[in-house]
Amino acid sequence: MDEKMSIMVVDDEEIVRESLFHWFKKYGHAVETASSGFEALDKLEKRPFQLLFVDIKMPGMDGIELLEKVKTEYPDSMVVIITAYGSIESAVKAMRIGASDYLLKPFKPDQLSLVMERISHQKRLLFEHDYLKGRLEKITRFDNIIGQSPAMEHIFTLIPEVAQSDSSILLLGETGTGKELVAKAIHAKSRRAHLPFIAINCGALSDTLLESELFGHQKGVFTGATHARKGFLEVVSGGTLFLDEIGEISPKMQIDLLRVLEEKKITSIGSRKPVDVDFRLISATSQDLGKGITDGSFREDFFYRINVIMIDIPPLKKRKEDIPLLIHHFLKKYGHETTKQVDRVTRDAMELLKRYNWPGNVRELENAVERAVVLSQSRTLGIKDFAFLRSSPAPLSRPLSLQEVEKQHIQQILEEYNWNVTQASKALEINRVTLHKKIKRFNLERRV
């Protein structure tokens, strides 16, 4: 038994608590005591314990009741039951509920030593199991894409299948659903995995800047082009190019990219010499491209070229069964990053989080958990830790689409800044060109 553990001794008899306290201290364990089941639960609420020694017969809440609560609320904590009323029934019941072992008072010192050896062995096995499970998940799953809903299971099956081909992929999904993560997973599973993965957000760049970024330019072709620069289409050589918000690119850029996809050649700005390129294209959008085709803003031939394989990533509200799993993942992540021992969410808070609509999808959920972990004073997050979510507008009789919300928000900011596009774009943290595009697309006008 070389591993130091955090142990809590729960017994209503002070002499027993003291005896075990001093015994475990001799092994260097971190020991605390509680005189009742209620006190034990209070302490568990504040910080985790790896092992609990619990007396069966206690006034108020008996050891079996405490064991049941611990196994439900804190399944990682192991429990050894101590009883002076050594009936086979109570021991069997305790073991059935999930006790790791039991001892009949009084016991020989070496019996306790043996129990500790067994606990240590169980802990080692659990650690190995968790480690191997983690390794297996890394092999069969994809980093940071969490889900066990049928929709996500389908995506997990699709990723390795589509990764084998070079066909263009179009990822559809609302903002924050994890389109870039899926793109990265496809790249990681493809034969191009050891080559670059380059992601460009088309919505964040003006047309000319995007052209320069993608195709590169020669020295002196425009103001500021002090030296020649290779475009991402060339730099990516052999890897995967991920174009996010593809619905934002201009018809001219659509023609240019269509040509590249067909000829596998590019000509940088200011040059006449075409260069061979080899990349796999993954595009993504949160827009309805079909609508764009109908109104003429999106080319049909380009749409078919980028949409050889389409993967639709469902919004979080349509896969609410994944919410507990995602919360658990983010608690682990931010607990580790902030070194705070926050690892639980109360049942009420979990219900609230499952009911919430998550317009910002997984990204919003991640931010909510991060904020709650950073500000939390206890190891358990409750409803009050997510109060900021409740302040969001109540659901309307007809839910607004993301586009409608975006339109309303842009209109509001523009009015706030008296339609000064420079100031409004700063407030929205997008560039002016994008804001102009959005004003045009949403047909926004100054309110009289």
Binding site: M1, D2, E13, I15, V16, E18, S19, L20, H22, W23, K25, K26, Y27, G28, I82, K105, P106, F107, K108, P109, D110, Q111, L112, S113, L114
Partner: protein, 185 residues
């Protein structure tokens, strides 16, 4: 290692053979290099007798020691012939609080070999000395050691005790030296 200002006291409780106290004192002096004094015997600790268990409660005797203070001694080890217990355990060979001042050693269970046959007195004294050194180790804050060939390895029974050496492993020995040096500074 002998840098402590006050000696360790060995105090017999009730009817304990003089040789037992002397052997324990000699082992403390020899293995831990500490100055030791054998104190005049104290009365038989009738106050700690538990009528239901027919054993003596080690916790009660240690509490009584606390009220006696023994201010001229760095640590005090009580030696007695009676069977000791702490409430959760059936029995203990000895008892000490981690980092405390007082410890107890019982000779009661030292007289029988694992097969039930009687042990020679030399072996009884050797076992008692090992328990005394082990408990004294706890008083100097040494923890139970996972190294089987170390005095601080936990012994659950007589067989374990016989297999445990009278010396500390390198790690525990260094820890004890550092602890004693820290105390003397």
């Amino acid at each position: 290692m002998s840098s402590q200002k006050k000696p360790v006291g060995v105090v017999p409780l009730g009817d304990v053979s003089e040789i037992a106290s002397k052997v324990i004192a000699a082992h403390i002096s020899g293995y831990f290099n500490l100055s030791v004094q054998i104190l005049p015997p104290l009365e038989h600790p009738e106050y700690a007798f538990d009528e239901r268990r027919f054993q003596y409660n080690a916790g009660i005797i240690l509490k009584a020691f606390e009220s006696m203070r023994f201010k001229d001694y760095e640590k005090v080890i009580g030696v007695l012939n009676m069977d000791l217990f702490v409430p959760i355990f059936t029995h203990v060979f000895g008892e000490a609080k981690q980092g405390g001042k007082f410890a107890l050693v019982s000779l009661f269970r030292m007289g029988k070999n694992p097969d039930g046959s009687p042990s020679p007195s030399s072996l009884i004294f050797e076992r008692s000395a090992k328990v005394a050194l082990h408990e004294l180790g706890h008083l100097f804050n040494l923890l139970h050691c996972r190294e089987k060939k170390c005095l601080m390895h936990f012994s659950g029974g007589i067989q374990d005790l016989d297999e445990t050496p009278t010396y500390l492993c390198r790690y525990c020995s260094t820890f004890l030296k550092d602890h004693l040096l820290g105390q003397s500074e």
